[in-house]
Amino acid sequence: MSRRSRKRAARFDPLHIGWPLWIVSGSAILFLIAPVLLLIPMSLGSAEIIEFPPSKIGFDQYRKFFNHPAWQSAVLNSLQVSAMTAVFSTFLGVLASLGLVWGRFKSKGLINAFIVSPMIVPLIVMALAFYISLAKFGLLGTKLGLVLAYTPLTLPFTVLPISATLRGFDRSLEHAARILGANRFQTFTKVTFPIIRPGVLTGAIFAFMIAFDEVVIALFICGSTAVTLPKKMWDVIRYEIEPMLPAISTLLFLLATLILVLVGFLQQRLARRMTAG
């Protein structure tokens, strides 16, 4: 080995990041986050039009949003639909995960694939499918119709974290509970469920978020009687100039941040439980 190449080899550090790469990756991160952050100062403008930079600063848009009956009912509808979807989808998800992880039967892979399959069907196809079938049962424009449509859509996202948690669960704890005299039901409610609860909650949060943000199916199912927040936002973005929108977007941004913190917290708790158990 020549002296020069030895010198180069000694200097080489695979973890080294050159300044051009810092600029490229830094701008990529900026590209991801800057436009949304920009909405926060914009939300404080009080004018009737959306200006950049805002000329008058205040919380008028927020006040208007919280006092507006149409927006209030949209938020309420969205909360109800998403909560019901989360409950329904999590219930099915817990049962399915228990069966899939602990059950002994063939064609597990097939059932797994079946449960994930709604993920790859384009949303517009699902929307048309529900539009046609819910119309037959007179469920268009109802919250129940929306919940029914969101259940298959969110099921993969509840089954995923719940079954991942179950796989890390030490079943000898259950045997111990049974030996100590607990029946099957008690074992589940007193031992198994408390331990897997963070995974179940994570799944429920995912389902809630997906339902809370869904717009394509909502466009077809909501009608004028069960308008959700995304559907209302869609109409406003498309057809009018609404100075409240940056404020609403900022609130949704804060919600996403809150959820992120919550999920992070749950993951941490889960990790602690798994190592302690």
Binding site: F12, A28, F31, I115, I120, L123, A164, M209, V215
Partner: protein, 270 residues
């Protein structure tokens, strides 16, 4: 048999609705292929099919170009910076799709942030046209797809032994050669997984072309919506949906063949 309730729900709420679309496209009320023939015979629809593929390919590529450097830096950065980057990506990923697209309207529109900045500094006289054209759609879709690209590439990169790069360097390779002959080929599985996932999502994309695109950037999804809502032509909308679904399934079967469906589950095997 705890799986049964979920399976029942899926049959009633997924299989049944999708099959009613399938039936609609073939029977009205007698068996007919007229809607499919009409789709493939009318130049407008062949063009839209082509535009759909074109936008999907381009947005996948641009998401790769933006996402790859992020993943590369994530693998190598110190924990502080890595956590900051991960936080930014995850946050962007969690924010409502509508909000993310809307923020680009604010930035790109005629009197938007970019045009305001450029005109106040006297750099341009007439505002750029950045919205309701292909540029707007590409920006909006890239923005949404980048996290889906970063995570699979990053997870593949985490499994690469960096000593291989040291070895390449020892054997006389330059930094550039080390990247193209060692690091890049090793990260290809991540690129494939991310790109196919994004391409599948892009094919059926609806929100961004509708909000940020012009008349020329409307994809198959948007035409289906027009057929249902404005023209009330359900059978033809069903036929278009089946065509879109088949296109998606073809791409997915490639994904499944080379990467396995388990990857959609985050690599967890059952």
């Amino acid at each position: 048999m705890l799986v049964v309730p979920a399976l029942l729900a899926l049959f009633v709420l997924f299989v049944y609705p999708i099959s009613s679309v399938l039936l609609r496209s073939f029977f009205s009320p007698d068996f007919t292929l007229a809607h499919y023939l009409y789709f493939f015979k009318t130049p407008l629809y062949s063009r839209v099919l082509w535009i759909t593929f074109q936008i999907s390919i381009l947005s996948t590529l641009s998401a790769l170009i933006v996402g790859y450097p992020i993943a590369y830096v994530l693998r190598r950065a110190r924990p502080g910076i890595r956590n900051f980057f991960l936080l930014a990506i995850t946050l962007s990923f969690m924010i409502s799709l509508l909000v993310r697209n809307y923020s680009w309207i604010i930035v790109l529109q005629r009197s938007g942030v970019i045009n305001t900045l450029f005109t106040t500094f006297g750099l341009i006289d007439t505002p750029f046209k950045l919205l309701h054209n292909k540029f707007g759609v590409m920006v909006g879709m890239t923005h949404i797809f980048v996290p889906y690209i970063v995570f699979p590439i990053y997870s593949v990169m985490m499994g690469i032994d960096l000593n291989l790069e040291k070895a390449a360097q020892n054997l006389g390779a330059t930094r550039w050669q080390t990247f193209w002959r060692v690091s890049f080929p090793l990260s290809l599985p991540g690129i494939g997984a991310g790109a196919l996932l994004v391409f599948i999502m892009a094919l059926g994309f609806f929100i961004t072309p509708a909000l940020l695109g012009g008349r020329k950037e409307q994809m198959l999804s948007n035409l289906i919506q027009i057929q249902i809502v404005d023209l009330l032509n359900w059978p033809f909308a069903s036929a278009m949906s089946v065509i879109l679904l088949i296109a998606t399934l073809i791409v997915f079967s490639i994904y499944n063949r080379y990467l396995g469906v388990e990857r959609l589950w985050g690599g967890v095997k059952t």
